[in-house]
Structures are given as structure tokens and as C-alpha cells.
Symmetry: C2
Subunit: 742 residues, 2 copies
């Protein structure tokens, strides 16, 4: 009986248990959890990051570069069109391509030399006989330089014209340089020779014209680019990375970015174009760049008083101002320099190649990664080092997508911009065409243009809020040839600063100007941006930039032999930038740190108070509103960080996560005010740095105060007051973005 | 045995069932559904809407109005400060108040007459003896008009000055009026008398000054406001709603909105202010409004040629141009009119009162409901009819919040704006201070200023995408005194149009200018806006506006006796606008319809093609880009509507709902382009209508084409081309907002 009872009880227990199990697992709960609940809480997958890092291949990058640099690919040329097709084919690859790829065309205003009528620089005697001719093309040291598609060195957007005059040396062509020269000489009718650096390209001619200068020659001084080295016999490329004597930096001579004929409008076929006479910010007088071998032949013959020490360069002669003109004992005595420029302006079709990986959870949030595609000549470093990194990044990510291993939380947009060399045209037109859409949805823009300037260390610039994700990513990547040293640890040795919060950390720079395609994103649209590359050991070179920059020597051979043999620095940049990209795309909480913005604002404020409080007070203009705004920003940032710390975001409503992410995403937008830089096209971000005596502060305020202190005019002090108000309102507005949302 | 088996089986079955039940209900599922899953899917609760509608009480509105109109409450006066306190106390009420309430102060540039030195208008003989004096204050018919706080009628922002000259009649003071007058008369040194209407207040003086006119008098013609009625004995207030002979419309004489000294900056204490000499858009010459009894005494004595028919008004005399000056047989023959204006400009503290109901699911999405608080005198209709409606709305909603019956999905912000009468100052400063935050988060702005002009029918204007929610709400509310006729059905009888999609529907107007506080929201920030009120039966009156507008007769008695006895039209507006508010705040899917925007764009395009295609084609300017943009917009809207129809939003990820809602919310933002109206402060929305021959089209294009057709200049046709591009880019950009998000 007992046994029966026990058996019965056992049976009952088993039956009950079966029932419980059936009930628990076998029946769909009426309020069953929707499948998306887990999806929306998904965070970045560290294993996938590691997989990405390990799959980035230096040899793939090398082969990308080889392909991209086969021919010169100046914007809109046949070589450029070939790279468009190449990008499309890579991003449409069934195994490693992206979800969606296409080309977008703009019709843009470019400037080219006349292939049938080259620009010339000559020295002509008073009887008009030619005593000296500057070289029209760079000297070939490998097959690349002999490619007929190599464009003659020229100053894009310099007007055509035939001018001659006595030569003067005007240092860097800064306003102060011409001012000094003008104290001694009558500049009317002269031709000025100036060196690169210290002033924007167009500025060198714009500053000259008011003094009556009729033409400008620009060269690169060996002191500035070659650490003084000049000899092609054993010092310059192909013996080293230094610029050969005939090398010439080409460039776009304009101060504004974007297509010049269609300000604030995308340059489509039918778009209204301003009359070209209304273009501003280009040379008013013929301008032409030359190699330092020609500059040497001219400068060392100049007469007149000796130029100041700071004007002296790397030539083994004394740099004189010019008589104007040459020394009495020179063979060029009494001769003029003649400048014949035949540049032509043309409307040309330029393409951006766009590629998309569709986000799975928040497709309406974009992380944009971009690099321009056009070069001046073969452009192995500028920009193809960046393009080959981008292609390696899309190959690895594209494969994960095609294999079904990975779908980013947010959408990723890759942009291969056209016509950057002519003034960031592709990216500027893109941001103009999709202005509101990009403003509303873009989490961040990552720019990798020249990916490797040199192979010493990472370099990064960006919005202050982007610092933390760059740090985190760089800590997870090792430097070339090491299993233990991280990119971060290496970086901090080369470039660091002391943060009141973090102690000594790598120094992330600011995005001050329009050096690359980040400018329209950060300055015009207020999209959190960053620019990432590998760069120099500054103890080893003083070169202004890598010496083959914008010359016909920027070739695959140059890159693989002197810049990054083995392409491991390229690989390191790809790994780091790709890590940043994946974190921005996949993190549940956006990896943007608003308190880091507070730190930068406080630093800028500190300098502003030190430099300007006293003079402003003396004109009854208070900096208190600015101080209050920065204090308010700091408090709001601290509170938001506290909310983030106190939240278990993975288990809370996805709308709360989205809310916080929107606060972080849209923070940079709050700094926009078109009154801040009314005369500068596309600059609206008030957190734009000026370096004053080596320290950074708010540029709009610094410029206004400097001007008021110089003129002493009450109206100029009023302008400074206006800028205090603009800054204060923008920063307070940004603080209110971070405040509790209601 | 069988029994035992059966019993055993039964027991087992029961045990199994118990187990299943236990397992199903008794054990928390390991992947149990988070509580927020239901919250995020919640839609608008129709029962709560019905409860709201039934609880809105006309007698409460009446008592609100009685309280608000006890004393004159012109901006920044003691009466205004009292209403600030009253609003605060109401919104802080523990039983019917809001979640959070506060006042925000701005320091704004206002203009007042000198109470110790009233403005005067006199007729003076050549020997300077005063032959006639216009009335300085309106005649009292009830205690209200004798309140010492009643401000003398004046033209705010008219400069002070003492001028005299021969009188001329200049109709409405339009440019064409002065032009016509100038063909016959020398206007130099004259004083012009003009009637209200046809031209903005400031324009009447701005247009006059170039002709040498030295002063302007403005009056309201009985034909325009009183259906011709003039007699105070039995025709005008207090016998009817018509304006008494001494009534004067006060007003702000300025063309731009917002604080004049702080363009694009919130007018805080320390904000930079432009020099007042740089203010634009205000009368350059002394200007003063007068009653029609004084205008009658002057106009009917004027000499010179008879004015054209269209210039004739309601007086029982012929309106002549003026000799200049009076008729030879007039007692005023050879006399001058003398205008002495002593207005003073002052910086004053003006408050917005803000109140918030915090959203429970998406607190970072705002529905803003606003109305100004300041009046010119007692302002029973303008604006207190709106304020009493707002207070009733917050009482009912506040009680539901305090009782815990209701929490809106999104946050609701109530704004009681200050200094609207001086140029929308409170709302403009608010939108400037929180520009980015409001741009990023605001779903819609609902404006109810004058809530009841008259008691015939609903009137609504708004962004095209707001039409559907206004229709839906108005269908759920009955008109006063009816259990069956909806506001919608009544409305369609008074004002309708034929829609190609919906057939005959009520006519929702456009927000063309800066008539009330919606202007900064829609025109400067691109926030979907609407303006709601009750209005006239146009078959019964031709009055330009309700006749006591801006006079000392706009009192509680006037409102309760002549505008809305029983306050049931007020109640109807409260119910309708409150319904719109609740739907915008609570709907899972935002009730904004993008296809309705497409319909309006197509209508505008249609008119543009008809009017401008031929002349533009003749100048080789194609409208194709505009046509393509509109077509693209329509397709994108249709696709998005299809996505919405195909989705079961309540069961999908809340991020998908949010994504679609963001597309709808941010649509209006895409229409902003500061190049569209470069000379008009705060106007950036390209969907701004112009009425051309009674039909609406794009204002920027219409103005540019009209100008080019008038001048025939190639450069003006180029400007028209520029506007085609601006419009096309904005509309195409808006279409891309509606496209699949990636």
C-alpha cells in the first residue's frame, strides 16, 4: 500500500512537474515578449571588434593603393572616372560589398591649365630676350612622372594673364610681409615671389594686389619642406622622401570651400550659378607655383636690401628684398620676370561615390565615414592612402555583412568625395543637397584623408565629445611590430597634454579650418566630426608636410618605400578608425562624452578671461554671460553623465536610450550660429578655435577683440560685445540640450 | 479497477492541469516582458478625449476672462505684471495646475506715449492759433474707458517729433497710393492722412517719407470696420459691436518681429544691443492714429481733386486728395495740420509665463500651445479670449494630471507670451533663446490668440500637414447649441475648397505672415504650426476685424454682450484646440499628414507654372527642377503613407514608430533656407504663400518674377532663377526626409 501510495505520489509529482514544464515552456505567453526587445538593447559586440581588427590586412591595403595610383586621377579627368568605377565595383562586390552603392554627380566650377599652352615663368631682358625659363614640368625619376596625364604645376583659380615686372621676395605673402616690404620699396608693377606656409595659398596673391603687385610666384623653400636638403644627387627623392628640386606643390587657390558658383546650393545641372565675376577669395592677379630649383635661380640673384632673419630660407645665399629686381652684377640685371598664365575655368561633372550599410535597429541614425578620391597627380598619399584604408575597412565590414555575421545598429554611409582638391567640393555639395536630412540624423562624421603622413604615431583631431571613443579605440589596437604597445600608449609619448580631469592624455587637436572634408560637416552642419591619420616624429623632421605633397612624386613607390613600407601604419589607422566607426554604429549608448566638451569650453573661457576680460571691462562689456553659460554647460553635462551612470540602459525603454543619444548627437548642432563668422562661407560653429600666443580660445571673440584693440573704435568694441552674446547664447543653448529634456 | 484507473487518470489529468497552470502563470518567465513594452505602444485614449471635451466649461472661461480683464494689461505695465502672477497661481494650483511653471524675463525695447505730455493732432491757422484739436482719449461709455491705466492711442515706435504741414489724403498709404498722389501734388512738407488696411502699419509712414511727407495720421474708416455705421447715438458700442466714433486702433508700427535691438539673440539683461539708429522697419516720420470722428472733421474739409472711387470711404462727403490742404471755403482754409508726438522708447522687463506637463513616454518631444498675455488696453478679445481658453484647457488637463488619470505620451509646453503687441516679442525671444532645443524636439505649435472674433464658425490656418488633425478634432466637437452638428460640418458650410484628394473640405488657411506668435515657430524655426479661432459669418459683416480691436472698448462687457454671449464659442474653440493638443501629445503615430503637404505643393506649383513658366522659359530659366522636386515629394509622401498603412505600429519596435514620427515632425524643418527671404527678419520657410490674383503660390518665386517682369533686367531674371533653385533644393530636401530613411 505504502509502495502504491509512494508510486502514486511519485507519478503525481512527475505529472505535476511535466505540467509545470509544459505550462512554462510549451505555451506561448499571452503577453509574450516581442523579439525586438532584445534587439533594441543590443550593445557593441567586442568579439566582432576584435575580429574586425584581426582581419584588417596590410597587404590588401597595399594592393588597393597600387590599383588606385596606376594613373593620375585629378578631379573629373579620365583617371578620376576610372576610380569612380573601381569604387563602385568594390562596393558592389557580392562577397565583400555594401548594401547599396551609387554615384552622385555635381556640375562644378574647376580651373585647369591649358595643355596646349603651358603656363610659363621666364626672365626677360629689357630687349625681351628670354634669359631664363622655369621648368614647365617636374623632372621624371620614374615612369609615373612621364605619364602624359600629369598636370602641369599650376595655381587652380589663378586668373589667366600675361604680366611682367621686377621681382621682389615677399617671404610668405602675409599681410605683414607686404607691409614691411612696402616700407622700403614701391611694389607697383612688381612680381612677388613667396614661399609656401604662413598664409593660405590664395591669400598670398590677395594680400599682394592692393600694393600694385601684378603677379605672384610661389615655391616651397627647402628649409620648410626638406629639412634643408636640396641635392637631387643623393638627398631628394628617389633617394629619400624629400622633394626633388623640380617638385612643385599644386593647389587650389581659394579661401572658401564648396563649389564657388553655387553657394549654399548643390551644384546640379540646372542650379542657379552666380556670375563668375562675383566669386570671392581667389587670386586677383596671375599666380603660378614653381620648384625650388627655379626659385633658387631667381631669389639668389635678387638685389635690394637684405631681408630679415625670419625671412631667410634654406638656400645658400642671402635672401634680399629685390631692388626691386636683380642685383647689378647678376646676369639678370635690369631684367623682368614674366609670368604667362593660361588657366581656364570649366564646368565639369564630378562624382561622389556613396555606399551604405543599412542599420538594423536605428537605420535613421547615420555614421558617415569619408575620404576624397581625387588627387592632383597620382596622389598615393593624398588621398589614396586614405582611400585604400577605406576600401580595406569596407572589405572587412562588407564581408561580415554579406556573411550575415554583423548588422550595425545604426546605418553607416561611406563617401568617396570628388573634387576635394579644388575646395572640398564633393563633400560640400553633398552636405548642401541633404542639409536637413544629415543635420537631423547624423551621429558623427569620420574623415580619413591622408591616412599616413609618416609612420610614427596616431594623430587625431575632432569635436571634444569625440575624444573618448578615439581613446577607447586606440587602446584596443597595437602599433605596428608590437604585441604589447597600444596605439594610445605610443601616441601619448609623442603628443600629450594635461587634462584637469584625466591627467596626462594624448592630445586630440581641434578642427579649426577647412583642411579636409570634415569642414562642411562640422562647421556648416554642426555634426560631431573627427579626422584621423598617422603622422611624424617631430623630433626627426621639421617638414611642413610630407615633401611629395601635391607633386608628381606622390606615387605608389614613394608611399611604399618612404612613407610606410609594409603598409602597417595604414593598417593601424584602418584598425583604429574602423574601431571608432563600429563603436559609433553599434554602441547602445553613443560613445560621445559631453563632459569632455565642458573641459574644452572651460579651457577656452580661461584664456578668454585672461586675454580679454580687462580690455572688455574697460569698455563696460562683461564676460559674465559667457562665464555663466560655460558654468551652466558644465553642470548640465555632469547631470547628464550622472543620469547615464544611474541608468541600466539595456533594460530600460529604448526611447530613454534614444533620448539620451539624441542629446549627445545633437549637442554639436547647438553651437551653430550664422552670425559668428558672417564673412566666412560655411563657418557657423561657435566652438571654433583660435590660437592666441599658442593657447586656444574662441575664434570669433578673439578676432573681434584683437580688431577692437587694434583700432580702438567704439563700434569695434560693440562688435566684440556682439560676439560675447552670440557665444553665450550658443553655449547656454547647448547646455539646455543636455538638461533634463523637459 | 476501471474506477480506480479512471480516478487515477482524472487525478493525473487534474495534477497535470494544475501543473500546466502553475507553470504558465505561476513562474515568472525568464525573458519576461518589461513593463515599458505596453507603455511605448499606447495610443491616444478616445475616452479621455471625450472626458476632456465634456469637462470644458463655458462659465469657467467667462470667469477667467472677467479676472483677466479687470484692468488694462499692456505689456510690462502693472496690469501685465498682475496677469503674470495670476497665470503662475493658476498653473501652480495643487488640484488643477501643471507639473512645472515659471516665468522667464527678457529686457525688451518698447515704445510708449508720455503720460505727462500726450500726443496731439491739431489744425492750426497761419497765425498758429488752434482751430481744431483731435481727441486725446477715447470717449468713455463704461467705467473701463476711464481707467487711468488706459494708454492714450498711439503708434508704437513712431519717432517723437513736432511737425506741421498741409494735409493730404493718401488712401491706405500703399506705395501705389503715394505714387498716384504724387502725380498731381507736391507732397513735400505735407501731412498724410491714411486709413487702416491694405498696407502694414509701419509701411504707411515708410512709403510716405521718400516723397517728403513729414507726418502721418492713421484712422479706421467706418466702411472698413463698421459696415458704414457711424452714429454713437444708436449704432456703435455700447449699442452694438461697432466702433464708436472716438475709437482708435493702437498698434505696433514695425515690419519685423522680435525685439528690435537684439536680432537673432534673446534679449537678456547683458545681451548686445544694436544702436537704435540701426533699427529698420519703423516709421521714419511722426505717426499718430486718430478716431474716425476726427478723421471725418479733417478729410471732409480737404480740397484738391476728387480721389478715385476705390479711395472713397464711409463718410458722407467726397474724399479729395487735398489741395494740399483744405478747401478754400473751409474754416480750415490755408491751415496746417500739426502733429506733436512725444513717444519714448524704453527698455522694459517682459515676462513669458511657461507651464509644462511632462511626457511619460517621450518627454523629449514637445507639443507647444501658446497665446500672448499682453493687451493694448483691457484686451478682452485680444488676447484674453485666448488666454481664458488656455486657462480652461490647462484646468481640465491639469486636473486629469493631478488626479493621476492622465499623463501625456509627449511633453506639453504652455506659453503665455509677453509683449506680443509690440511685435511678437515674447515668443520670438523664447524661440531665439532655445533655438536648437525647440528645433530638435518640437512636434507642433498651436496658437490660439484671439479665440473668438465672432461666433459663426471655426477658422484655422496651419502647415498643410496639420490639416488632418484639425479636421479629426473638429469632427468630434459639436457647435454651440447643437447635439448633432459638428464644428467640422458647420465650418464646411462657411468656408470650403475642393481638394483633388478629399473633395469638398473646410478651407484651412496658410500662415502667411507675422500676425501672431506662430510666426517665429513656423517661419524662423520651421516648426509645424497652426492658428485656431472662431470667426465671422462673412455674409453678415465686411468688418476688417472685430470693431473694438485695439481700442479701449475691447472689454469684458463687449465680449460677453456682442462677441460671444454665454461663451459657448470660446468653449468650442477650447474643445477643438484641446483635442488637437491631446492628439498631438498622445497619438502613437503623429497625426501629421505628409501627403497633404504634397497637395499644397502641387497647387502652388500649378499656379507658378501658369504664371511664370512662359516668361522664365523666355529667359532660358527652366522650372523643371521645381516640377521634379514636387513630383519627388509626392512619391516620397505616398511611399511613407504606404509604410504607415502596412505597419502594425503598436506591435513593432518603438524605434520604428519614433523613426516615422521624426520624419513627420522634422518635415517642416526641411523647408528652411535663409536665402529665401534675405531681407525679411526671421522668414526662412520656403513654403510661404503669396496670393497672386487670388491664387496661392510660392512667395519668394512670385516676388522675384514680379520684380523681373517689372524691371526686365537680366540680373533680376537671374534672381528669379536663384529662387527656383532655392525652392527646388528645399522641396527635394524635404522629399528626402520622407524617403526610406537610408
Amino acid at each position: 500500500m505504502l509502495r502504491k501510495v509512494l508510486f502514486g505520489g511519485l507519478c503525481a509529482a512527475v505529472t505535476l512537474a511535466v505540467g509545470i514544464l509544459l505550462g512554462h515552456f510549451g505555451i506561448q505567453q499571452s503577453d509574450s515578449t516581442p523579439s525586438w526587445v532584445q534587439d533594441v538593447a543590443k550593445d557593441v559586440d567586442e568579439d566582432l571588434i576584435q575580429r574586425f581588427i584581426s582581419e584588417v590586412d596590410n597587404m590588401e591595403i597595399q594592393e588597393n593603393l597600387r590599383e588606385l595610383t596606376k594613373v593620375p586621377h585629378m578631379a573629373t579627368t579620365e583617371g578620376d572616372r576610372a576610380t569612380v568605377q573601381y569604387m563602385l565595383s568594390r562596393w558592389q562586390d557580392p562577397d565583400t560589398g555594401l548594401d547599396h552603392t551609387w554615384a552622385e554627380d555635381y556640375r562644378v566650377h574647376l580651373s585647369f591649365p591649358d595643355p596646349n599652352n603651358p603656363n610659363t615663368v621666364t626672365v626677360v631682358s629689357s630687349s625681351d630676350s628670354v634669359l631664363y625659363s622655369a621648368r614647365e614640368k617636374e623632372k621624371p625619376y620614374e615612369a609615373a612622372q612621364s605619364d602624359p596625364a600629369v598636370v602641369q604645376p599650376y595655381a587652380a583659380y589663378s586668373p589667366a594673364g600675361n604680366v611682367k615686372g621686377k621681382l621682389v621676395f615677399a617671404n610668405q605673402g602675409k599681410p605683414s610681409d607686404y607691409q614691411l616690404l612696402n616700407q622700403t620699396l614701391d611694389l607697383a608693377g612688381t612680381i612677388a615671389i613667396v614661399r609656401y606656409g604662413g598664409e593660405g595659398r590664395a591669400g598670398k596673391a590677395i594680400n599682394a594686389a592692393p600694393y600694385g603687385v601684378v603677379g605672384v610666384l610661389v615655391y616651397t623653400d627647402p628649409l620648410d619642406i626638406n629639412d634643408g636638403k636640396m641635392s637631387e644627387d643623393n638627398e631628394t627623392y628617389p633617394h629619400s622622401w624629400y622633394m626633388p628640386p623640380s617638385g612643385v606643390e599644386r593647389g587650389s587657390y581659394n579661401t572658401d570651400f564648396g563649389d564657388m558658383l553655387t553657394p549654399y546650393l548643390a551644384a546640379k545641372e540646372e542650379t542657379y550659378r552666380i556670375p563668375s565675376k562675383d566669386i570671392k577669395g581667389i587670386p586677383p592677379i596671375p599666380t603660378q607655383p614653381i620648384g625650388f630649383e627655379d626659385a633658387y635661380a631667381l631669389i639668389c640673384e635678387l638685389g635690394g636690401p637684405e631681408a630679415p632673419d625670419t625671412w631667410q630660407g634654406g638656400f645658400n645665399c642671402t635672401y634680399n628684398f629685390g631692388g626691386p629686381g636683380f642685383q647689378p652684377l647678376s646676369a639678370f640685371n635690369n631684367s623682368d620676370v614674366k609670368l604667362d598664365v593660361y588657366n581656364k575655368e570649366e564646368l565639369k561633372a564630378s562624382s561622389n561615390v556613396m555606399g551604405v550599410i543599412r542599420g538594423s535597429v536605428e537605420p535613421d541614425r547615420y555614421v558617415i565615414y569619408g575620404n576624397h578620391r581625387d588627387s592632383w597627380v597620382h596622389g598615393a598619399i593624398d588621398p589614396s592612402s586614405g582611400t585604400s584604408v577605406m576600401l580595406e575597412l569596407t572589405r572587412v565590414l562588407g564581408r561580415m555583412v554579406k556573411q550575415g555575421t554583423w548588422k550595425p545598429r545604426r546605418s553607416i554611409i561611406f563617401g568617396s568625395w570628388g573634387a576635394e582638391e579644388f575646395g572640398l567640393i564633393g563633400s560640400a555639395e553633398y552636405t548642401e543637397e541633404y542639409f536637413t536630412k544629415l543635420s537631423e540624423r547624423t551621429v558623427a562624421y569620420i574623415n580619413v584623408d591622408i591616412s599616413v603622413f609618416a609612420n610614427a604615431t596616431l594623430r587625431a583631431s575632432g569635436s571634444p565629445s569625440a575624444q573618448s571613443v578615439i581613446f577607447k579605440s586606440s587602446k584596443q589596437v597595437k602599433i605596428p611590430g608590437s604585441d604589447s604597445t597600444s596605439v594610445y600608449d605610443n601616441w601619448i609619448r609623442y603628443s600629450n597634454r594635461s587634462s584637469p580631469v584625466y591627467g596626462v592624455i594624448p592630445n586630440v587637436g581641434f578642427l579649426t579650418g577647412a583642411g579636409s572634408d570634415y569642414a562642411p560637416f562640422i562647421h556648416n552642419l554642426g555634426i560631431t566630426s573627427m579626422d584621423i591619420s598617422y603622422t611624424y616624429d617631430r623630433t626627426k623632421t621639421k617638414a611642413r608636410i610630407y615633401p611629395a605633397y601635391h607633386t608628381a612624386y606622390d606615387t605608389f613607390t614613394y608611399a611604399s618605400k618612404f612613407i610606410d613600407p609594409g603598409f602597417t601604419s595604414h593598417q593601424t589607422v584602418a584598425r583604429t578608425a574602423g574601431n571608432v566607426l563600429m563603436r559609433l554604429a553599434d554602441s547602445l549608448l553613443l560613445p560621445l562624452n559631453c563632459s569632455d566638451y565642458a573641459e574644452s569650453l572651460e579651457a577656452f573661457l580661461h584664456v578668454a578671461l585672461e586675454l580679454y576680460k580687462q580690455p572688455l571691462d574697460a569698455h563696460s562689456i562683461s564676460l559674465m554671460p559667457l562665464q555663466s553659460a560655460v558654468t551652466r554647460f558644465r553642470s548640465a553635462a555632469s547631470r547628464l553623465d550622472q543620469v547615464i551612470r544611474d541608468s541600466d540602459l539595456a533594460s530600460e525603454t529604448p526611447l530613454k536610450v534614444r533620448r539620451i543619444n539624441d542629446q549627445l548627437m545633437l549637442l554639436d548642432r547647438a553651437f551653430l550660429d550664422s552670425q559668428a563668422f558672417p564673412k566666412e562661407y560655411g563657418f557657423r560653429h561657435v566652438f571654433r578655435p583660435a590660437s592666441v600666443n599658442g593657447r586656444f580660445t574662441f575664434r570669433s571673440l578673439a578676432d573681434a577683440c584683437a580688431n577692437a584693440m587694434a583700432t580702438g573704435l567704439a563700434s569695434d568694441w560693440q562688435k566684440a560685445h556682439h560676439h560675447v552674446s552670440i557665444l553665450s547664447q550658443a553655449i547656454a543653448g547647448a547646455a539646455s540640450i543636455l538638461d533634463d529634456v523637459i
